[in-house]
């Protein structure tokens, strides 16, 4: 799960990380009032769940109230990577002496929470990682001790050089680690972390992602969720025990298991078709899931054919067939469907489907070819 910058800043503040004052605004009017109140150089920042806001023109500096108004007019309603900007953050602009990057992530290789830090802040850290990997410090935190004060101080000192500044930065690092652990984050980064000419250290932009598997124990984080339209569909599917992701093609796919679902999409592409979605109905034998899945698939108006690919393990093919028959009684559709059933109780499932007249095929590749053919009619 992702959150907006303004929400990340709020979490940072709650943990005592210094962040410049800001006001969240939904209208030009609100921006005008906020700029007047802050009464200083401000930055107007689009709040959308996408990276590259600055490059897209979604971040603007305003020297006075008039400039703030004109920036707000430009940014509110603008489109960044397919997302409409509905709100902006008006924040005090800070004087920047130098920019740094600090962040924590879960590292698969060391199987630990890893601190990443760089004196090359402000830009995308992926760029630095690609072009100058030696400029990034990577420190795997020992899960049993946590990030120790002296470790944070050593790393901060190697970035800042000055011990007074390093102590301020080290305190931010330990706070960021604490909030990372306590909120079940998968990413918590401050970019940039800045040094002001007065020697203060401040977080002026933040990004946080959270572990979906841990949201059950993070009610405060879950309450921050602001899904866009596609995500709402995905969340609704998740609540029904399905994993759904909408794509751009025209062949709807219903598969059991994530790996097989990906392989099914790949196969459709391989034979010259285009998948409309990723949909994993999971490993249960509940016919209701099949009905829900068909509903979701067919709600996508781009879908011209449906490919059902089931390899029964725990999932029983006869249950899938029963769910499908029921689904087709409820949902009247003329979208053609091709079914492939293998594994547990496949014969029983295929026998049930015989009555429906749905085309059934023996293998995954035949199913893909047939679905593509049907989608072109």
């Amino acid at each position: 799960m992702k959150i907006h910058e303004y929400q990340a800043r709020q979490i940072f503040r709650n943990y005592g990380i210094p962040v410049p004052d800001d006001v969240l605004c939904y209208t030009v009017n609100e921006v005008e009032n906020a700029a007047r109140e802050l009464n200083c150089l401000t930055v107007i920042k689009a709040q959308v769940l996408a990276g590259g806001r600055g490059k897209a023109g979604g971040v603007k500096l305003a020297r006075n109230v008039d400039e703030a108004i004109s920036a707000a007019k430009q940014i509110l309603g603008m489109n960044i990577k397919g997302l409409t900007v509905e709100k902006v953050l008006v924040t005090k602009a800070a004087n920047i002496e130098k920019e740094f990057y600090v962040g924590f992530v879960n590292d698969r290789n060391s199987k630990s929470v890893t601190l990443m830090a760089s004196a090359e802040g402000g830009v995308e850290i992926e760029e630095v990682a690609k072009n100058a990997p030696d400029k990034i410090i990577k420190f795997p935190v020992n899960a049993q001790t946590g990030l120790l004060d002296f470790q944070a101080r050593d790393i901060a000192l190697s970035l800042f050089g000055d011990i007074k500044q390093a102590q301020k930065a080290a305190s931010i690092l330990t706070k960021l680690y604490k909030l990372y652990i306590e909120t079940d984050s998968t990413l918590a980064e401050i970019n940039p972390l800045i040094l002001t000419p007065d020697g203060d250290v401040l977080a002026i932009d933040g990004k946080m992602n959270f572990d979906d598997n841990a949201l059950y124990r993070q009610p405060k984080i879950l309450a921050m969720r602001e899904p866009d339209e596609d995500e709402q569909k995905e969340i609704a599917a998740h609540e029904k025990g399905l994993s759904y992701i909408k794509l751009d093609g025209n062949i709807g796919c219903m598969v059991n298991g994530a790996g097989l679902a990906m392989a099914t999409m790949d196969m459709i592409k391989l034979y010259g078709g285009s998948p409309a979605n990723f949909l994993d109905i999971g490993g249960s034998s509940n016919p209701q899931k099949v009905i829900d899945a068909m509903n979701i698939l067919l709600s996508d108006k781009n879908v011209k054919a449906v490919m059902i690919n089931i390899f029964g393990g725990i999932t029983r093919c006869d249950d899938v067939a029963r769910g499908l028959i029921k689904a087709l009684e409820i949902i009247m559709t003329d979208v053609p469907i091709v079914v492939r059933l293998s594994g547990t109780n496949a014969e029983e499932g295929l026998a049930l489907l015989k009555q429906t007249g749905l085309p059934t095929v023996g293998s995954m590749s035949e199913a893909a070819k047939k679905a593509i053919e049907l989608s072109k009619k």
Binding site: S112, E126, A143, T186, G257, A258, L260, D266
Partner: protein
Amino acid sequence: MSILVNKDTKLVVQGITGRDGKFHTGRMKAYGTNVVAGVSPGKEGETVEGVPVFNSVENAVKATEANTSIIFVPAAFAADAILEASYAGIKLVIAISEGVPVLDMIKVTPILKQNGTMLIGPNCPGLITPGQSLVGILPAMIFKEGPIGFISRSGTLTYEVVNQLTLNDFGQTTCVGIGGDPVAGLYFIDLLERFENDPDTKAVVLIGEIGGDAEEQAARFIAEKMTKPVVAFIAGQTAPPGKRMGHAGAIISSGSGTATEKIVAFNAAGVPVAKEPAEIPELLRKKLEEVK
């Protein structure tokens, strides 16, 4: 021969009184797996599918000398169950539970290392040594004894590919589903090493997917350390970046973890990558002929 599980496996089922635990205990027993005990706090003295239930793994180990554990408890309690098995002296733990928080696994990892416990999973289908022992939820009927080692990050895709292998007369030594989570127990390299050392395994099939760089590491390991042929398949070749494809680990982030990178790495290591699952038996046949 085989790896990790065989006729000597004595299995304890954690969460045996739950719906899945009970169902799969019956299936594993029917396959011939030596299921010696179950654990469900508060239910000691009961039996499930003829298997005695204990309050703790420690009690189960004392009474039955169980050496392997399989975990079916809900995700929120999985980390605790893994550690319980580890502290009770179990050397191999298979965690089927799906949806375990990553930070739970990060906390568990160093303790397992200290205790010398091997973990497979979480969020995995388990493993099988055909003809000897099934420790997991895999559909037994598609497997067959033979010379192929099999490792996969996915569940049902494993069934798809194993089915192709069996139909083409390639039986298996051991098939391991390592699971789709970003932080998991034994991974490709750990298992490739075991298959390399297993005299009965003649070749290995590896099923990877998008996300992370475990496949790239496997490719390096194969190039440097392996004498036996390996054939691979990568799922998610058409997945868009930034979208998590069901598995918590299957995500292409900021240009890394793509199928293309993995395929390039495998090809550079002399590992052919199948375009679709049905192509795997043919690639395997060619590779085995080269070795001869």
